[in-house]
Amino acid sequence: MKDNIFAAVGRTFLEAVGFMGSVAIFLFEGLVQTFASAKIFPRSLRQIYVIGHKSLFLILLISLFCGMVLGLQGYYTLIKFGSVGFLGAVVSLSLIRELGPVLTAIMLTGRAGSSMTAEIGVMRITDQIDALDVMDINSMSYLVSPRLAASLVSFPLLTAVFDVVGIVGGYLTGVAMLNMNQGAYFYRISSSVSMDDIVCGFVKAVVFGLLVTTVCCHQGYYTHRRRDSVGPEAVGNATTSGVVISCVLILASDYVLTSIFL
């Protein structure tokens, strides 16, 4: 029995290490092809449209409500301590350092990451990726690199949109609805947010973008190697895995990055 438990733990550990190694190699290959491919620009533009433009409305909606909730919660918490003037600082720092990059990445995982996995997974099970290889077209360069490049652009830009709209949401609750002083709200934002906070938020957005795109593309690309299922079911399972692993990695890497930047 003891042997079985140790064997199971060891197997799981080895599989996890193997998976991380495979994802790391996949990311490396994808980045190499990003710089080696001559047609990366037009393909990336299309992916920026898919990842960025098509997710914009969702990000606007989520960020507005997120900022409004932060404004509401912050107002009633700060008022107990007579510090309601700091609402602008609370909303902006929470958004720029943490909630902006994390929530944007999680939303994009659900919106764009899942579709990347499903699209590439279907291409894998219908021989389309094999067809690319046979035509001597590098499938990494054709499918993965444009998505990586697009993520490097889209994730920080959408994070910036999230931050700005979230701050507007906080303004709507704090100033427009609860009659807080408008000058105090914006003064606390400008006095408390430093360039380091903004850099921290953007670095997180870039890292999350790379993580989400790599994991989701990896899951789709190796759909045929799944041991739990085959065919369309494998595509479904790969999509679920892509989203779950991405979300866990976003939160885990957020902790690491926050501890580095503090």
Binding site: Q128, A131, D136, I137
Partner: protein
Amino acid sequence: MASWDIRFDRLQAGYGERRVLTDVNGVLPGGAVSVILGGSGCGKSTLLRQIIGLSKPMGGSIVIGGQDISTMDRKAFRRLRRHMGVLFQDGALLGALTLGENAVLPLSEHLSLPKDLLRREALRVLSMVGLAEFIDYYPNELSGGMRKRAGLARAIVAEPRILLCDEPTSGLDPITAARMDDLLLSMHRHYPDMTIVVVSHDLDSLERIAGHVLVLRDGVSSFCGKLEELRKADDPYLRQFLRRDAGEVNDCGAQAMDGTVAASLKRWLES
């Protein structure tokens, strides 16, 4: 390179630990239409994947045009593979591209050609397969047979020396299947030097197109030669296969349905 024939010598191949092909020997001659024939699960598609380099042999060798691909480095094999066109089972067209873009994908990816020239090329190959009017359609707007024909157009756009077709008539009605066979024969007439290899278990297609046949049985090549020689072969399995004879069939041993299940089923059917 003189002749683009494909030679197998004690080839073994499979997936992971499982060997699907255990001993394949024979030659598919250059400039001929050859059919790789065999029952379901005998390793036909595995053999095709070996030829196009999607899997590595576990043993033995494959020699294409005088070059042993099992010992060839990746770069050299990629150069050799440029001379191959492949028609996958369902066409394997890229869903995000139109038929025209799919048809000229090998050209648009590897050559710097103007768009109007690429469109003319797309029209040329699509008209060869009777799909010129569908040049701006997407693959999901077409029937299975049309997708296969479009896949064939893409496979021949770079005028390859070897054309490989994976079950081109499977899933097609008899008329569409016959048209597909005629299309392959027409390709053979247009490109007499092209080695055409068709993986199939369709006996009608075999009769119509094959000049040469390699028969696989349980991962072993049981026959390799001309179609006429196959017809005269004494091997009981080959004769049985060509006659579509099921052989000794075990009785299915039908038993009466459980009474409770039968009663429930009856109630449901009558409800």
